[in-house]
């Protein structure tokens, strides 16, 4: 036994202080270190999930409590949610990875933030390769392209984000605009007339920030059959389709057929919708909830939707804009469990139906658009069976590819596209200006 009598009071105090500080520091230091990496193979598991959208929180919380969806799983899932802004999800995830800290198990990355992780060295180090997971689904699984890096899929989209044409049926009837009009060009003639007669526009273009401007342009461009990047990440913007689409938009703004608004969600757009100044717009499926129902709930029953009018030069009857992919962080104790949860919620019929019911997210499995349960759903705001429209659109949906340079392209293309929309430059010159700036900046 130690001879305590030989320990001075000062030494005892020093020792006690050191021990106390050590005990205090231990949990703090442990908290700074990486979480345990012993793989969890079964049993209770709390999946750490980062997302920007409360809809996904509801979806996953509902999913883990759904007995039928989780039947047969060796895991007993729970979710530990972190809610952050879209850009913060990526920024903090990378910061945590650099610090060897606690990254999420599942991360929801908004489509326009995904190019940040397409930069060499990020996606392949952070995310689980989903090739084997998606392989059995083949062409039935839609919207993998925007989240594929060097041929490897890293994310599953939550929503098909199908662009359709929303229109005020009452105003169309009142002003003699046929609901089944075939082409944009025919619609533009009616739009010009309506603007002169009643100051009503039949579509909108965004003129606010570069992201909104380029997204609006891209939506039409994809429908026309063009694109910005091909599947290999090569820029393909210098095309006749791009010039044609921008010219169509510029003429639409000039004639008043298309209304120039800062963005499709803000107060100006709300004013345009409320006043009836904006009687129609081409926007994705989620605009029903986030744009129309949010701003003009009193107009329920007056709005309808249909597939997009075609461009007379060709293209599709639908387009796409937006989306959020969920990725599984690799090399973590709960990676297997997270992948299992994602597979159940995103790649099963029950999971896709649950996602539609909990957040209105359209299925990403093509075959589900024939599902009787979905086909029978009647949208309360629009008063129609929406899957009749979505099914036709899904059959003719363009593919959207992006690349690490997408953010740069958005920054440098926004200004020239806006100049073209405002008539300050020609569409061809605007495309050329944007491409020239892109090449100069991406070379770096």
């Amino acid at each position: 036994m130690a001879d305590l009598g030989s320990v001075s009071r000062r030494a005892l105090l020093r020792g006690g202080t050191g021990l106390g500080l050590g005990l205090l520091a231990a949990p703090a230091l442990a908290g700074c270190g990486p979480a345990s990496s012993t793989p969890v193979d079964s049993g209770p598991v709390d999946i750490s999930l980062w997302t920007h959208d409360p809809g996904y929180i509801t979806t996953f919380e509902t999913a883990v409590a759904e007995t039928a969806l989780m039947r047969g799983s060796r895991f007993d899932f729970g979710v530990d949610i972190t809610n952050a802004a879209p850009s913060d999800v990526v920024t903090r995830m990378i910061a945590q990875a650099v610090a060897d800290g606690d990254t999420p198990d599942l991360a929801g990355i908004v489509i326009d933030q995904f190019p940040r992780v397409m930069v060499p060295g990020i996606a392949e180090h952070l995310f689980t390769d989903l090739t084997e997971t998606v392989e059995p689904f083949g062409d039935d699984l839609l919207k993998l392209a925007p989240y594929t890096v060097d041929g490897v899929p890293y994310g599953l989209d939550s929503d098909n984000s199908i662009t359709v044409y929303y229109y005020r049926q009452d105003l169309f009837e009142e002003h003699g605009v046929p609901e089944d009009i075939e082409t944009w060009e025919e619609l533009a003639e009616h739009g010009e007339r309506l603007n002169v007669d009643s100051r009503i526009s039949l579509g909108m273009v965004a003129t606010g920030d570069n992201g909104s401007i380029v997204n609006g342009f891209l939506q039409f461009l994809l429908q026309r059959g063009g694109g910005v990047f091909d599947e290999h990440g090569e820029i393909m913007l210098q095309s006749a389709e791009a010039v044609e689409v921008l010219d169509f938009m510029a003429r639409g703004v000039s004639s008043g057929f298309l209304l120039a608004l800062p963005d499709p969600y803000g107060s100006a757009c709300a004013a345009a919708l409320k006043s009836g100044r904006l009687a129609a717009t081409a926007m994705p499926n989620w605009y029903n909830a986030y744009g129309l129902q949010a701003n003009v709930p009193d107009q329920a029953g007056r709005w309808r939707m249909r597939t997009l009018p075609r461009f007379s030069g060709g293209g599709h009857i639908a387009s796409t804009m937006g989306g959020t992919a969920f990725t599984v962080l690799k090399g973590k104790a709960r990676s297997t469990a997270a992948l299992e949860l994602l597979r159940r919620v995103y790649l099963t019929r029950e999971g896709q139906l649950l996602r539609y019911r909990s957040g209105g997210y359209l299925p990403t499995l093509r075959s589900l658009y024939e599902d009787p349960e979905l086909r029978s759903i009647e949208d309360e705001f629009l008063g129609q069976r929406v899957f009749d429209v979505y099914r036709r659109a899904t059959d003719d949906l363009p593919l959207f590819h992006q690349d690490a340079g997408m953010q740069i392209l958005t920054d440098v293309l926004g200004g020239p596209v806006l100049d073209a929309l405002k008539g300050r430059t020609s569409p061809a010159a605007a495309i050329e200006d944007g491409l020239s700036a892109y090449r100069q900046q991406v070379k770096r």
Binding site: T207, G208, D411, G415, Q440
Partner: protein, 316 residues
């Protein structure tokens, strides 16, 4: 015979014996080192949270790094690229415009408002103070929403008023590059004038009344008193305000980011936004660090020149 008295404690042995024989290193140097120990917390924190980040920033500015993996050393290439990057120079021009406007319009406006608020017999002084200070405490998000609606091209209040009063209202405040810059500086004026007014007001309240009385007796009118009494008395406050405004406006971010996100195109992009965009939207962290180093150098040099010119912190 008596036995010798037993010592009450045993004589020290081993290490304690050595300790007793020679004072420890700490005891020998305690007096000399104690002051440094006392001031060490500041230097430790200063080094950890200022010098280390600056050093890391300088190192990163000479690398290419996307955020993960090992940064790749590229020497001064990021700086060379910045010199030929048209977006960077656009942001420099815009920031210079904001700085010049703030120094030439916002600071004088704040001084004049402070002078007005300091007038004798002013009724509702506190209400005016509150009104002028209010923009500083309003959430920037609310400011962005409200200004977005006020200056909207189609549905905006300003265009509506112009239409009603003068018959024209088609100014594209946020969509035209030149007007967008004007809108940003209007927001800066609205947001910061009241804040700076508080500094001038505090300075004005410290100007001795006797000076005004003496000037009045000498026949000086209100304008002369302002030039000969108020301005010289406010010189230290003015110098402080000018230097801090110069430094903070050179790093302007919130106003253009919230109102226009740097657009249309890049017409309202500031240097701080350029850095944010490179670092957190494009994952070009080395490039962003290089721009940050340049911004630091420019702000440091101009701040130093302004301090010398205005004699901040020197005896009169």
């Amino acid at each position: 015979m008596t036995s010798p008295p037993t010592p009450r404690t045993r004589p020290p042995t081993g290490r304690r014996a050595v300790d007793a024989a020679a004072p420890s290193w700490w005891l020998r140097h305690q007096r000399a080192l104690a002051p440094y120990v006392f001031i060490s917390p500041f230097y430790l924190l200063y080094g950890l949270f200022l010098l280390v980040p600056i050093g890391v920033g300088l190192y990163l500015s000479c690398t290419e790094w996307a955020g993960l993996g090992t940064p790749r050393w590229v020497g001064l290439r990021n700086y060379q690229d910045l010199m030929t990057d048209s977006s960077f120079w656009t942001s420099v021009r815009n920031t210079s415009l904001y700085v010049v406007f703030t120094m030439c319009v916002v600071v004088p406006a704040a001084l004049l408002i402070a002078q007005a608020l300091n007038a004798r017999g002013l009724r509702g002084r506190d209400m005016f103070r509150l009104a002028y200070f209010m923009p500083v405490v309003i959430s920037p998000i609310v400011v962005a929403l409200v200004f977005g609606l006020i200056f909207d091209n189609e549905f905006g209040l300003v265009n509506g008023l112009l239409e009603a009063a003068f018959g024209f209202g088609g100014v594209d405040w946020l969509g035209d590059p030149a007007w967008a810059r004007v809108t940003v500086v209007i927001l800066v004026l609205w947001r910061w004038t009241g804040y700076l007014t508080i500094f001038f007001l505090a300075g004005l309240q410290n100007v001795p009344k006797e000076l005004y009385e003496a000037a009045a007796i000498d026949g000086a009118g209100p304008v002369r008193r302002f030039w000969e009494v108020t301005l010289p008395s406010l010189r230290p406050v003015t110098a402080f305000v000018a230097v801090t405004v110069l430094i903070s406006t050179a790093q302007i971010f919130e106003e253009p980011f919230l109102l226009t996100q740097g657009g249309p195109g890049e017409s309202t992009l500031s240097v701080a936004m350029f850095i944010f965009r490179a670092g957190f939207q494009r994952q070009q962290l080395g490039y962003a660090a290089a721009a940050g180093v340049l911004l630091f150098l420019v702000v440091f040099i101009f701040g130093l020149l302004a301090m010398r010119a205005l004699k901040v912190g020197r005896e009169q």
